[in-house]
Symmetry: D2
Subunit: 143 residues, 4 copies
């Protein structure tokens, strides 16, 4: 952590970074007792919502203005299982921003243990799903 | 079963009735190994989609025309657990239709065993969530 | 609120009561934009986990001791829609406890607005799903 | 398609391949109306269940014998959106099998349109999550 921008956001190596805690819910675990691998994406998505909020931007209002982000690609490596009632911390960083795309990297920790690493590329689209340039306030927020 | 209206729909005691099979998915089961109680509502919802389809109505097209249904109330009794990879049959019947509401009753069977009974009341609303009368074709289809 | 038992729990009319906040996630909303009606049960379940925790009991440890709770029946009335990024408060109260069952009542508020009311009956079962008496510490905690 | 092994399975370039249809459920779509990106993993998982079934293996019985598979890594590229009530076909192929891991590749088509491509690596573990060699019947089934 180099400096705090606001209550929730920091710059790590110059990039906006946030940490959000999640308590693993019973319904999120599968029959093996593990947090189901699909559910991580919901944690990452919610963490992006909080990252934007910490930057002063409410994603809901972006949508109301016709600015949408959809996941274009993603990848994940699950290193250690996480189970019901574990408290995990998701760290999300903006890796790269272009006029139409944003790359994020994620880490999940349970206390000091790294349990998962992931990445996504989001595309900015309009209400019809067509690519559009994102508002300047977004793609320059990590300068 | 008194008579078959189409491939999928029957009249049971004069009411449109449909049966839809579901294979219980791994991700739908919770850490105890049971189909999670919340997931049944997704099965019931999907069964309503198929009930409408069997009546010649595609719910997606209703929405495109500004006709939406939202669940107003629901109740469920879980009699026997259902687990991963079980094949269950959901039976849905229209119990009652008014100009603005539809009541459905549901049963879940695994082979001959009744595992669950439920009911819902749906309200017809517009795009803003305000109540509206449903198209006549819907509230009279069980005459 | 009559008295506080601990940081999170209160007695309302002599009954243990808890309030838990949930930020509605994007993935929890359906194509109409509403928090999907099935997802409320996950909020209620998580709230029960927190109610137990506030009583000094970790449900995960109960399970490790062979004490499980399954939802036997439930009912819900959805009064007002809730949408993505709304902050809602779920209030859960223990209504009644017998040696084998627990009844809870739930309310969902968005600020001062009551949006949903629900109830569940849980049954205490063993690892094989057979009914069993719950530990005395549980069924007497509301005396 | 080179040859059919059974009702559901084929060999494509010498690799066991299966196609499974999914009707996109309302609850699986997010507030933007798209099949939520996290839900694809549930489709892929269910398709693996069917791939095993077509090979004469029921994953539920593998688990009963102490053989579990967990997702170790995954990647996905979402090419075109899929919406409520679309009928999509998931094609899953076994790409590679070692004594402890299986790689699958997936494609999602809506009619002739390729909408999504993905891959996973599963690790074979025991009940405690420790790596174990999978039964010979599994890692040799694609010879």
């Amino acid at each position: 952590m180099e400096s705090a921008l606001s209550a929730g956001i920091e710059l790590v190596a110059g990039l906006p970074t946030i940490r959000v805690d999640f308590r693993v819910r019973y319904a999120e675990c599968d029959a093996f007792g593990y947090l189901h691998h699909a559910k991580y994406w919901e944690y990452f998505e919610q963490t992006r919502t909080e990252l934007l909020r910490a930057c002063g931007i409410r994603y809901r209002e972006l949508e109301a203005q016709g600015v949408y982000f959809v996941v274009y690609k993603c990848a994940c490596r699950y290193r250690r299982p996480v189970v019901y009632d574990d408290l995990v911390t998701v760290t999300a960083r903006v890796l790269r921003t272009t006029h139409t795309r944003v790359d994020h990297a994620y880490e999940v920790h349970r206390a000091d243990e790294l349990t998962c690493q992931a990445s996504t590329t989001l595309a900015c689209v309009d209400r019809n799903g067509h690519p559009q340039a994102m508002p300047a306030a977004l793609w320059t927020h990590d300068r």
